[in-house]
């Protein structure tokens, strides 16, 4: 009997070994695969177990966290949600994250390994780091001015500090409140459905994700190309351009809205915004030089991240002369984001240098000590400094004597360019009103701010739509807000 008891015992030992081996299989070998299974809710539970770090604007948090005491415990809250939505995006338990909430998620959620004082020790103890904060470059007053300026309209504003590329304002209208999307209940689902069904597309970030035909504001680029290429040497000299201008190789006649464009000088044409003159200039500069200048300003760059990606602004490089003529006045295939046009204005204000724009000044640990700072940004020379000086003067002329009078600020140097972009089939759509500008305070060594404003559906009779009338006052408010601050 003893032998058989032993055998039964060995059998039980075998069962024990099978259990141990299988436990090792499940808990060690298969564990990573199980952890990744989409039905495993543990990563989500862990993620929402602690409050998220905040996004700061001007030293104040525009985000927050609410303890729901549910399984996915902390929900995102937003202060002035609609105003900052084009910057923060949303952080939703159901729909994920967008914009800064997405690109800075590692820091905000605490998952970024840089937040751990001793990374390996954390792996061992499974401790989670509290979320860090993201300090933005936004100028609260400028953001507010832009947001209020666009109230009730459809459009976008982007404002930069020309010397650094810091983004001071980024507004898209109509906007939305990211708050209702935060949770995972039916309210979040309803808000999601409603926002997606809205034909005004409030979740579209028009400042960086939407491109528009830049219209006459693109004449800044054309002028820079013409000056750099030596096609124009004397701004005051007559250009010999006809009115109307027949597009090369076609019977299409290009006309002007203002009078006095025939044979106007470049300075006059710029102030009056003569299509004929700049269309002819673009053709004279040629595709190669026009393209090179547009590239230098940032067109056709699909890689720009601020840190979330910016839609590619385009300048077509395969053009015949008629298309080039239209492209040179910001029509045909030329399209730009408001941010891109702010970069154009900033380049003029900054001696011809373009800095890639950025939105995150630095990230901090929970206590406020710096984790990472925005590194130095790439600099491109978009035009000769001398060209920039001459363009600055022409842009100031627009504000002082031309269509940009509404952007003038007492005691400050302001340069601008209006634009009215045709679009739609046969140009049937309500034109977009553009205004790009920069401003330099009385005591400033350099321009402090460059702005681009686009208004999609300006509430005016079709004939009256103009960058000068609808967009310039918004730009002025933004610039004033920046100049006022010390």
């Amino acid at each position: 009997m003893t032998r058989h008891i032993r055998h039964a015992g060995y059998f039980c030992a075998l069962l024990l070994v099978a259990l141990l081996l299988n436990a090792a299989r499940v808990q060690v070998v298969q564990a990573p695969a199980y952890d990744r299974n989409p039905a495993n809710r543990r990563p989500d539970i862990t993620r929402y177990e602690q409050p998220r770090g905040d996004i700061l604007v001007g030293g104040r948090a525009v985000t927050g966290s609410r303890d729901t005491r549910e399984h996915l415990r902390y929900e995102r809250t937003y202060t002035d949600g609609p105003m900052y939505a084009p910057v923060t995006g949303f952080a939703s338990q159901l729909y994920g994250t967008t914009l800064l909430e997405s690109t800075e998620d590692g820091v905000l959620s605490g998952a970024d390994p840089m937040l751990a004082p001793f990374p390996l020790w954390n792996d061992f103890t499974r401790a989670r780091n509290a979320g860090g904060d993201v300090v933005t470059t936004l100028h609260p007053a400028a953001q507010e001015a832009a947001y209020k300026g666009l109230a009730g309209r459809k459009g976008a504003v982007a404002a930069l500090e020309p010397s650094t590329g810091r983004i001071l304002a980024l507004v898209s209208a109509p906007s939305y409140d990211p708050q209702p999307l935060s949770g995972n209940g039916s309210a979040a689902a309803r808000a999601w459905t409603r926002l997606n069904a809205d034909k005004d597309r409030p979740m579209l970030n028009r400042a960086v994700r939407q491109t528009y035909p830049p219209g006459s504001t693109f004449k800044v680029v054309t002028a820079a190309a013409a000056l750099d290429a030596g096609v124009v040497t004397d701004l005051e000299a007559p250009t010999g351009s006809p009115d109307p201008y027949r597009l090369p190789g076609t019977r299409t006649r290009l006309t002007n809205a203002p009078k006095g464009c025939k044979d106007a000088s470049v300075r006059e044409a710029f102030t009056l915004s003569c299509n004929t003159v700049f269309a002819k200039l673009g053709v004279e500069v040629g595709v190669t030089d026009m393209t090179a200048t547009a590239h230098a300003f940032g067109f056709n760059n699909g890689e720009l991240r601020i840190p979330f990606p910016v839609a590619r602004s385009t300048f077509d490089t395969t053009l015949d002369k008629a298309q080039l003529a239209l492209s040179s006045i910001g029509q045909y295939n030329t399209r730009a984001t408001p941010l891109q046009m702010a970069m154009v204005a900033a380049a003029v204000a900054n001696g011809g240098q373009v800095r890639d724009p950025y939105l995150v000044e630095r990230t901090t640990r929970p206590g406020g000590s710096t984790l990472a700072t925005a590194g130095s940004r790439a600099i491109r020379q978009a035009m000769y400094p001398s060209t920039a000086v001459r363009l600055r003067a022409m842009m100031r002329d627009v504000v002082e004597n031309g269509g940009g009078r509404k952007a003038a600020i007492r005691g400050a140097k302001v340069g601008g360019k209006t634009g009215t972009a045709q679009h739609g089939l046969g140009n049937s759509g309500t034109p977009y009103a553009w205004f790009v500008s920069w401003a330099q305070g009385e005591r400033d060594m350099a321009a402090r701010v460059a702005v681009a404003v686009v208004v999609e559906d300006a509430e005016a009779r079709r004939g009256d739509i103009s960058g000068g009338g609808d967009a310039a006052p918004i730009a002025r408010a933004v610039m004033e807000a920046v100049l006022k601050s010390p």
């Binding site: 009997m1 003893t2 032998r3 058989h4 008891i5 032993r6 055998h7 039964a8 015992g9 059998f11 039980c12 030992a13 069962l15 024990l16 099978a18 259990l19 141990l20 299988n22 436990a23 090792a24 499940v26 808990q27 060690v28 298969q30 564990a31 990573p32 695969a33 199980y34 952890d35 299974n37 989409p38 039905a39 495993n40 809710r41 543990r42 539970i45 061992f124 499974r126």
Partner: protein, 454 residues
């Protein structure tokens, strides 16, 4: 035949004549204190992890468990001084850990607290342990009640049919708010019956009847009653849809038959029958078929868009635990759902204590089983040997079936993890098992005078 007899004789040499073995009660006491301290430590760890403070009941919990364990220890010291010193501490530690896990899971279900009831049942279990140790002077007395045991076992097994089903199985009887699972008690009674019957008839089983191939078939008169009992119990269990327990009884039957007769053929027959039964039931019974499907494809429900089922959630919990575990109180095994405190309690141990902790738990069970087998080996009269082996095998098989089920090794069958899982009947039964093992090991080691009691 004579050859077989010689084999048996040489396999069972008379144990060496040792007059007295050391009692080692001090070791038992030390281990009990350690077990209680470990349990209290776990209780405090849960409180610290969840609330940042020691749980208010820690002292009371420790004192209660400690007093219970000390009373049991005193009973052993008094009436079973030669008993194996590991059995009781292992029971205390497993029961204490079970209470900690249930208390920890209670925090996730504030409306449904199971730990207080479990503490009451544990008290009853330890009381039964003490009663058995004090009153049952000699385990051989049980042999007198062979047929009482089998009748009682069958009655207990049949009773739940009269009561409504719970979660698809008729395993419970509900009286005055208490639910009892009589099948649990029937386990011990059947083990006693099998051991007693086989001890009485083992020679007839081994050496009479016709020989077919390598198998010595016993006469129907000898084999009949035990097969009948086994068939009835398994039949009843199938009616009640308790396949885990029917598998358990089958395994118990085969192991004891093998040990009693020494015939390897029984193992072959057992395995053959088990496979046939498993295939038949798996094909025909939709409930079991579903279990097997789930076992083969634990994530099929996820792919079908119905979310993770209990087994998938259990596997996620084990995976989250990894090597070292999330720490007591810091896991999310409550995601498993309603059976998390009973059938799936091991998943909580796996998630919060990790592979290290769960291996320790398995080894504790292994040690308990091993001490049971040792008690059987040290015992010289066949009833005691078979009883100890039967009880130890019961624990081993039950742990294997339930632990293998929740870790995806074998199809899941609902059973209670001995001592750990929520369930009064189970705790009480397991304390009875430990008590009987203590009894057998005490009598085995009490004295060796060289006399062969077989």
């Amino acid at each position: 035949m004579s050859k077989a007899g010689i084999t048996v004789a040489t396999a069972d040499p008379p144990p060496p004549a040792v007059r007295r073995l050391p009692r080692r009660r001090g070791i038992e006491l030390a281990l009990i204190v350690l077990a209680v301290l470990l349990s209290v430590y776990g209780y405090c760890a849960v409180g610290l992890a969840r609330h940042g403070t020691l749980p208010p009941g820690a002292a009371g919990y420790g004192a209660g468990l400690g007093v219970l364990a000390l009373l049991a220890h005193l009973a052993v010291r008094l009436r079973a001084p030669y008993a194996d010193p590991l059995l009781l501490p292992i029971g205390v530690l497993l029961n204490g850990l079970g209470l900690v896990l249930i208390y920890r899971l209670d925090l996730e279900t504030p409306g449904d607290r199971a730990a207080p009831a479990q503490l009451v049942w544990s008290t009853l279990g330890v009381a039964l342990f003490i009663l058995v140790v004090l009153l049952l002077r000699d385990h051989r007395v049980l042999q007198r009640y062979t047929y009482v045991c089998v009748v009682a076992a069958l009655v207990l097994l049949t009773l739940p049919i009269l009561f409504p089903a719970v979660n698809g199985a008729r395993l419970w009887i509900r009286i005055a708010g208490f639910s009892i699972q009589p099948g649990e008690f029937a386990k011990v009674l059947l083990a006693v019956f099998f051991a007693a019957y086989l001890a009485a008839n083992r020679n007839a089983l081994a050496y009479t009847g016709r020989r077919v191939w390598k198998l010595q078939l016993p006469t129907g008169r000898v084999l009949g009653p035990i097969v009948a009992v086994w068939l009835v119990s398994v039949g009843v269990l199938i009616l009640e849809r308790d396949l885990g327990t029917s598998l358990l009884f089958f395994g118990l039957f085969v192991v004891l038959l093998y040990v009693a007769t020494g015939r390897t053929g029984w193992i072959a027959v057992g395995l053959l029958l088990a496979s046939l039964g498993a295939v038949a039931v798996g094909r025909l019974e939709p409930h079991v078929h579903g279990r097997i499907e789930t076992w083969l494809h634990p994530f099929a429900s996820i792919e079908a868009g119905e979310g993770a089922n209990q087994l998938a959630q259990s596997l996620f919990a084990f995976a989250e635990g990894g090597l070292l575990g999330a720490g007591l109180g810091l896991g999310h095994s409550y995601l498993i759902g309603f059976a998390v405190k009973s059938d799936f309690i091991l998943a909580t141990a796996g998630e919060e204590l990790g592979l290290a902790g769960i291996s320790a738990v398995f080894l504790l069970y292994g040690l308990l089983v091993e001490r049971g087998f040792r008690a059987g080996l040290a015992q010289r009269e066949p009833f005691g040997r078979l009883l100890a082996v039967g009880l130890a095998s019961l624990v081993a098989l039950q742990v294997f079936v339930i632990a293998g089920g929740v870790t995806g090794l074998i199809p899941l069958t609902g059973m209670a993890m001995p001592f750990l899982a929520q369930g009064g009947s189970s705790v009480v039964t397991n304390w009875a098992i430990v008590a009987l093992l203590v009894r057998v090991s005490d009598s085995a080691r009490r004295s060796y005078d060289g006399q062969d009691t077989r």
